[in-house]
Assembly symmetry: none
Homo-oligomer: 250 residues x 2
């Protein structure tokens, strides 16, 4: 059996059950213990999993899971800058959509406007919004346990009651050819619907998202504007040909 086949088995098992024993993997692949160990070594170096005594476990890219609460504290500063700029685009009397996730959440502290209405699908955004005194609508639907985002057909249906002046959505990958992508198809559909319902469309993404592409396609580059921060590691020229890109200073 080829390494890539085994890798697939290993990662899929880990993905489904969080931890997997060496023995299970030997069973499942028919390979020897030594081989599996070597595979695990490689996959650990590639940061695809974490080796533990007796097997391997899923990589928890965040230090700890504070239940549903705020996590993903990576690139906070960048996200704050993006959020600040994005918030400056919003004007009084507008109705805007904020996507679930940390990036759009960073806009909230800077939303100092009267007569603003916010719609979101992220439970985490509700509390800061309400505390700011902003009238907030939450999209209904099934709750995605990991992220506290609303998804599913109920959420889509729920969305159709609204129209937005502007929407601000987060994204996992921005690729020159493949456009905006995200890992969860359910979320992808929702984002598409939001874009459809909005006059002005903004995608918020820190530089780490550029050049990457994820499983599920949301939209083409030209279908939304991009807000990001300047970074020497990312060449924006090719993206700027297709859409408006605002890169704020660090």
């Amino acid at each position: 059996m080829l390494f890539s086949q085994r890798q697939e088995i290993i990662l899929s098992l880990i993905d489904h059950q969080k931890v997997v024993t060496l023995e299970e993997l030997v069973q499942e692949t028919g390979s020897s213990e030594s081989t599996i160990r070597r595979d695990l070594d490689r996959l650990e170096k590639a940061k695809k999993l974490k080796r533990i005594h007796g097997g391997a476990s899923r990589i928890e890219d965040k230090a700890e899971e504070p239940s549903l609460a705020e996590k993903n504290l990576r690139n906070v500063e960048e996200k704050q800058r993006i959020g600040q700029y994005a918030a400056s685009l919003v004007q009084e009397h507008e109705c805007i959509y904020l996507d679930a996730g940390t990036t759009a959440m960073q806009m909230i502290p800077h939303l100092n406007l009267e007569n603003l209405i916010v719609v979101t699908n992220g439970i985490q955004l509700v509390e800061p919004l309400v505390e700011k005194g902003i009238p907030t609508y939450l999209v209904g639907g099934l709750i995605k346990p990991k992220t506290g985002a609303m998804i599913g057909s109920g959420a889509i249906k729920s969305l159709e009651n609204y129209r937005f002046d502007k929407c601000f959505i987060g994204i996992n990958g921005i690729h020159e050819d493949w456009g905006y992508t995200t890992p969860d198809p359910e979320e992808s559909i929702l984002k598409q619907k939001v874009l459809e319902l909005s006059q002005e469309k903004y995608v918020l993404a820190d530089p780490s998202k550029f050049g990457k592409s994820s499983f599920s396609k949301v939209a083409l580059l030209e279908e939304a504007f991009i807000i990001t921060v300047k970074s020497k590691n990312v060449q924006l020229a090719s993206f700027e040909k297709k859409t408006l890109v605002k890169a704020v200073e660090k």
Copy 2:
């Protein structure tokens, strides 16, 4: 069994019930006492829990303030009893509605069923539900800042996608003549809709609600069953003439 698997069991138990005995953990994991002790040592060093004589307890990080809903700590014990009994009425494969508010929330710890689906309009209920692994749908709509409940026409519309085997709603006043009442007309309409969509209808109310009536009428007494606790201050006879009343022991 691998350490990480045990860790998960241990932490989840502690998370749910605050303290856990060594014996319980031995039972639950099938590992020996020695092993569990060592696990607890490790987890204590990692600040994931606090060891106590006989087991371990949750680490009380800091004052968890619910800011959005200053939790109504009145009559907690009574509400717990009511919640416990109400939860015992729920069966597998059912789809139930839980009203926003502390009383219905008290049902959650006792909802130990497989294949249960919960719909709620209370944001506060989401986290405990999700942590229990219960598939949860949140009604969409406008958020009522004080209570974190979803209200308004959007919520009503959002509700119409569902049908419930049972619903459990909280109420502010139960009056012999005026029936069930609540102060907020918006909430009242929502509760009416929920009752309409449910097969079996339960109103949860501690004894302080009896004989009172509030601004907005939800339904007549006979339109729902009542779950409360026994109290010498309340004469239930007149209510029992009109509907089924279950008064659990204190």
